[in-house]
């Protein structure tokens, strides 16, 4: 009986600890379980992991103020990147937007946005490639690696 009580006490202590711990905010989970590396050879996977990791840091520095860390955008001011039809239809098009900025209306997932985005011409092609790889493979998005060569070509052909 005494032993039972000890166990009971411990259970309550754990519950108490849990109650206290649960005061803190829980971190938002990374990704939604999409395997972004599926079907990839190990060399490409390693390369993409590097792009992704650096891309995330660049995203948090240059993009997430407006588009938010969770990629959901803000109201009807800044469009979402998470599950964005506009981004995923042609991720390379977004490389041009990062580099040169954009003005005027832009429709994403059925909502028309119209907040100008400034050019980020201080970013290098490799940095843009890392950002594109990160945003097009996060929050449920999946589109594989976009390496620096692909981005370099895409950026050359950007519309004026």
């Amino acid at each position: 009986m005494k032993k039972m009580k000890v166990i009971l006490n411990n259970a309550f202590l754990i519950l108490f600890a849990l109650a206290v711990v649960s005061c803190g905010d829980t971190d938002t989970k990374e990704g939604d379980g999409t395997d972004i590396y599926s079907g990839m050879d190990s060399k490409t996977k390693t390369r993409m992991q590097q792009y992704y990791r650096i891309g995330k840091n660049l995203y948090l520095t240059h993009c997430s103020n407006c588009h938010q860390a969770d990629g959901k955008g803000l109201g009807k001011l800044y469009p979402p990147l998470a599950k964005s039809d506009y981004l995923m239809k042609d991720p390379l098009r977004t490389a041009c937007i990062i580099k040169n900025g954009i003005q005027g209306e832009l429709e994403v997932n059925g909502v028309v946005y119209n907040q100008p985005m400034p050019a980020h011409d201080n970013l290098t092609n490799i940095e843009i490639a890392e950002i594109i790889t990160y945003i097009s493979n996060s929050w449920g998005n999946k589109s594989g690696l976009h390496d620096v060569n692909t981005i370099e070509k895409a950026v050359k052909d950007c519309p004026e």
Binding site: F12, L13, C23
Partner: protein, 219 residues
Amino acid sequence: MNRISIILVLLLSGIVACNNVADKRKLNIYGNPQVVEKTVDGKIVYDTVDHTVGYFRLFNQDSTVITPKDLEGKVYVADFFFTSCISICPEMSKQMLRVHDQFKDRDSLQLVSFSIDPDYDTVAVLKNYSERLGVTSDKWHFLTGDEDEIYSLAFNSYLTERPADDPEDENNILHSGAFILIDTKKRIRGVYDGTVPDQVDILMKDINNLLNEENEGNS
């Protein structure tokens, strides 16, 4: 059995503690008080007067002229922002929106966002911005008008911004991202970092405390 009830009380207090992080506290009054000379019954007396925010006459997003008279009897939160700012402003707007939503039904609280780029942020631009942000009520004024007037408010009334030491541009401002809590006597009662969610949580608790304080003062 007794022991279990003690533990139960502990457990409950652990849960209650979550909702009581900042307990009821008396808010400070910020800014330098001034000593003023007054003549009462033919005698010169000195009195200490708290710092208060000054007069302004600006337009909101509905093209309505807003002066401190429109905020009379209200507690309000002020900040300085501009719509084309992509650094700290989106987060400030997001956090202010949290305050807006939290106090939607409290008419005694207002929100005032002064644009520090009023030439670009016309009434139409502010209207579009506020709607797209999701502001539906008339609780939140986005203000534009004379730049010098707004800068002077930022530097001398709300005290949170200061001129940037920029030889290229005399009319520059160091943008703080602060949220400033103002009471019905136009005094500054709190200053918070509007880019940090934890700080805005504290602001929202302080708003409740201040609204209670104002109610007690009136009764």
